[in-house]
């Protein structure tokens, strides 16, 4: 596609206070690039990002009626938005600005070879000029947004998200696949560090939700379809009925549980107990009424005979749809299930997982027993299913060391005669969690340590279970521990059921957890605009980490939808309909369903849905007629940049530079720097011409805040324009003067 080239480009090159100019001869670079096609002016500045420099750039854009801008400074990751805003304030389209990174990818990377750094800076800026010459004036894609959020998963993360979003003014649909809320936290018993029970946390959050009109909770609900896009997603949800109506008191529950003849392993207790076809996860579970597992129920009617009015075995599955502007995924995790035989799991009869142990401890009353045998010695084997040298789970699950030690503290508190043996790969109770490790050591727990490659062995010898470990803490002594119960400290893995991620098209990382855009810079956003992730579905987290991420995701989602309008980046795929001969390859490849087949000017072509396209560009190489490009990354633009990189650089020789400098009255490096100083710095120098002054005096004279003056004054001091007098004034402020 032929584009009009920009012919009035301004190039602003930053010294970055020496971070660039100490290694790149900025003035020489400026001299070379001013001759590039389309360049109208080149300006060097001490700190391009400073307020005064921004004002100056705006003035230059307006004065010269510039139609393009290149800023050559630090990484665009730091200041792309700063200079987009500068462009907007000057009336220049923000997409007619291109950033050249001459600090991280030039001056710093090549600080050992300054001549080469200068040469490279020229090439980088030339490439940016070439790109901005071909840039299009674009507008962000603006779409309407419903101030409604769908929160998927009603564990403590999802419930906290729902409350936070509602507090911020959003209407919330809270969708839980299970028939009871609370997720994993309800299973854990006492939690570190407050010792509060998980089910109490669940109860507090649930009661807050039930008091609100702006949160609608669906239990037994699964997302089965998704249409639309950010601002207006349409979710299809399948709701499996409870078959039981209204609140049921303990008597009713006891009677129906007794009456039901059918049993199955109880998933909530990880198979340690059985549950009936009519059940509650635990007596105080919410919502209050029990549920009937229709896959198990044979409709014998025993429960109906007790209270027919409250049970309807013919209730039908419902399918509903609703619309939401944003979606938060809080689907949590599964505990790692060891392989059969892994540290004796399922082959030695008294080996259980940490999660089973927590349930066992929570349910125990009076004596601690497993399979009818009283437990006195417990051995905990750490990092089972985490930090696997050969398996898929390379990650540390972050919560299991603390959880195991907390369990050891709880068991000792409840049953003082119990002895704990911790067989670890190094304890990772980071932060405040270290205190539970200290408490555990103080109560007499024994710690042994093994390394990768020397894993402990669990075997049955007669009636006894023995664990043999080469203990790194006693110079690799082989130590044998006899245990009544072996607890495998199992970590977190992603949920086995990832159907919701498939429906939402959320990217999944190599660790199988949901992938954020950037782990540090955009930790709760996914590449699917409007879909956020929080809690342990993203990566292993404890309750505290889960709450931090869920509040971040809630704030981010609300900020997106609360104004009723959303602006999306227009960097998306475009189709040249002259070249397109609809073959469908782009449509087949696109993960986001962004292409549709349309008729245009008598031919069938591909059309891009602007709200669905993520601008990844994966479709562009597969188009056989080369009809697709991403805005800003056309063939012409990429080839223009390559040309700019390979074109010879002829820096002005020293004598020529001197002539040029002489013509401008510039005679030395200090004068060059002075010329590049921001206006504010120049005014400070003028102020100091009348004698030494303290920062508050200069600030009062210039009518600027002291902190601004200090910022510029410190730069002037660093680069040798001013010095402190080593004296203080009557208010005890240091005095500064010009450095002669």
């Amino acid at each position: 596609m032929k584009k009009d080239h920009k012919e009035k480009i301004g190039v602003f090159i930053c010294y970055c206070g020496g971070n660039i100019s100490d290694y790149v001869e900025v003035e020489k670079v400026a001299k070379v690039v001013e001759n590039e096609p389309g360049v109208q002016l080149v300006k060097t500045t001490m700190f391009t990002c400073s307020d005064s420099a921004q004002v100056e750039i705006i003035e230059k854009i307006i004065e010269n009626d510039l139609d393009g801008m290149v800023v050559a400074s630090c990484s665009p990751k730091l200041h792309l938005l700063t200079f987009r805003d500068v462009a907007k304030r000057a009336g220049l389209n923000q997409y007619n600005y291109v950033h050249a990174n001459i600090r991280e990818q030039c001056s710093w990377a090549h600080s050992d070879r300054t001549d080469d750094a200068t040469d490279k800076a020229v090439r980088i800026i030339r490439a940016a000029i070439s790109k901005v010459r071909m840039s299009q004036s674009l507008q962000p894609i603006e779409i309407e947004a419903k101030n409604v959020a769908a929160v998927i998963g009603a564990g403590i993360s999802g419930m906290r998200s729902a409350i936070e979003l509602a507090d911020q003014g959003s209407q919330v649909y809270l969708i839980e696949k299970d028939h009871f809320v609370g997720g994993r936290t309800a299973q854990w018993g006492h939690l570190f560090p407050t010792n509060e029970e998980g089910k109490n946390l669940v109860e507090r959050l649930y009661k807050q939700i039930k008091e609100r009109d702006d949160i609608t909770l669906f239990t037994g609900a699964e997302v089965e379809s998704l249409n639309g896009n950010i601002g207006n997603f349409e979710l299809g949800v399948k709701i499996t009925p409870r078959y039981v109506f209204g609140k049921c008191d303990d008597d009713f529950l006891d009677q129906v549980l007794k009456a039901c003849p059918l049993e199955v392993e109880d998933e909530f207790n990880f198979g340690l107990t059985k549950r009936k076809a009519i059940y509650k996860n635990y007596r105080e579970a919410y919502p209050e009424s029990p549920v009937i597992d229709m896959e198990l129920c044979n409709k014998c009617g025993a429960c109906q005979k007790i209270c027919d009015g409250k049970i309807d075995l013919d209730q039908e599955v419902e399918h509903i749809t609703f619309n939401a502007g944003a979606i938060l995924l809080n689907t949590g995790f599964d505990p790692y299930e060891p392989e059969e035989g892994e540290f004796g799991y399922k082959t030695v009869d008294n080996v259980i997982t940490l999660q089973q142990f927590r349930r066992l401890l929570d349910m125990s009353n009076g004596t601690l027993e497993y399979k009818g045998k009283k437990i006195r010695d417990i051995a905990y084997i750490y990092c089972v299913g985490s930090r696997q040298p050969d398996g898929d789970n390379k990650h540390c699950s972050r919560y299991c060391c603390t959880s195991a030690i907390q369990s050891a503290l709880n068991v000792k508190n409840k049953y003082p005669e119990v002895r704990n043996f911790h067989i670890t790969r190094g304890i990772r109770t980071y932060g405040k969690q270290e205190t539970c490790f200290t408490d555990s050591s103080r109560q007499g727990d024994i710690y042994l340590q093994f390394f990768e490659g020397a894993f402990p062995e669990v075997e049955k010898r007669g009636e006894q279970t023995k664990i043999t470990v080469q203990d790194a803490l006693t110079q690799n002594e082989n130590i044998e521990v006899s245990a009544d119960l072996v607890v495998l400290v199992t970590g977190m893995v992603q949920r086995k059921d990832q159907s919701v991620a498939e429906i939402l098209k959320v990217p999944i990382g190599s660790d199988k957890f949901y992938n954020e855009v950037h782990t540090k810079l955009r930790p709760v956003e996914t590449v699917i605009d409007g879909v956020f992730i929080a809690g342990a579905c993203q990566s292993p987290k404890n309750v505290r980490g889960t709450m931090a991420s869920t509040l971040a995701a809630s704030a981010k989602a609300n900020s997106l939808i609360n104004s009723g309008k959303i602006e999306l980046e227009p960097i998306i795929a475009t189709v040249d309909t002259d070249l397109c001969e609809w073959c469908g390859k782009c449509d087949e490849l696109c993960s986001y369903n962004a292409f549709e087949k349309v008729e245009a000017d008598g031919k069938t072509v591909a059309k891009v849905n602007k709200a669905l396209c993520k601008g990844c560009g994966a479709c562009t190489p597969v188009c056989p007629s080369d009809a697709i490009s991403i805005v800003g990354y056309s063939n012409e633009e990429i080839e223009g940049m390559i040309d700019a990189f390979v074109k010879d650089v002829r820096l002005i020789e020293d004598h020529q530079a001197k002539e040029a400098e002489s013509a401008e009255g510039v005679t030395n490096n200090a004068d060059k720097l002075a010329n590049a100083l921001p206006e504010m710095s120049k005014r400070i120098l003028q102020s100091l011409e009348s004698g030494s002054k303290a920062i508050p005096e200069i600030a009062a004279e210039l009518k600027h805040p002291s902190e601004d003056v200090m910022y510029y004054l410190m730069s002037l001091r660093k680069y040798g324009f001013v010095k402190d007098t080593e004296e203080i004034n009557e208010d005890e402020y240091y005095l500064y003067e010009l450095k002669k």
């Binding site: 190599s510 990189f645 390979v646």
Partner: protein, 141 residues
């Protein structure tokens, strides 16, 4: 190994591998100043023709800093990028250009050391091959 300093064009991705290149600079880790970077939303957008154009225009090698499994857009991004490289290499073979002039490696957002390592080893490989102009018949300009 010759003293020839090859020119390398890097295609990086905005969210993952480009931050690694930034980090290398931040840590003042040095590599050849004749390495030039074009950042794309995702390396799966690299067209075979861009690789060929770069070589025809005088780049001695093209390095694709792929996201590997960290890609925020799609998990098969490396496989798609590899498809483009294979297509480019088919043409390179026909044109008598050494296939080792194109290289791909996955870099995470903090892979500063691996990036510098790749640049050093790729520069050495390309130095050994000599100027691309010997293979494409370009004239020094």
């Amino acid at each position: 190994m010759s003293d020839y300093q090859p020119r390398i064009l890097v295609f990086s991705s905005e969210k993952i591998s480009d931050p690694a290149i930034d980090l290398a600079g931040l840590l003042k880790k040095h590599y050849s100043p004749r390495v030039y970077n074009i950042t794309l939303p995702c390396t799966s957008a690299v067209k075979p023709n861009w690789i060929l154009k770069a070589l025809h225009k005088g780049m001695d090698g093209v390095f694709i800093a792929s996201d590997g499994t960290d890609c925020a857009f799609r998990s098969d991004c490396s496989a798609l990028t590899n498809n483009s490289i294979s297509k480019a290499q088919q043409v390179m073979k026909e044109e008598g250009i050494d296939l080792a002039r194109v290289k791909m490696a996955a870099l995470c957002s903090v892979c500063a050391d691996p990036f510098v390592g790749h640049m050093k080893s790729f520069s050495e490989t390309l130095s050994g091959l000599g100027s691309i102009k010997n293979e494409t018949g370009q004239k020094d300009g």
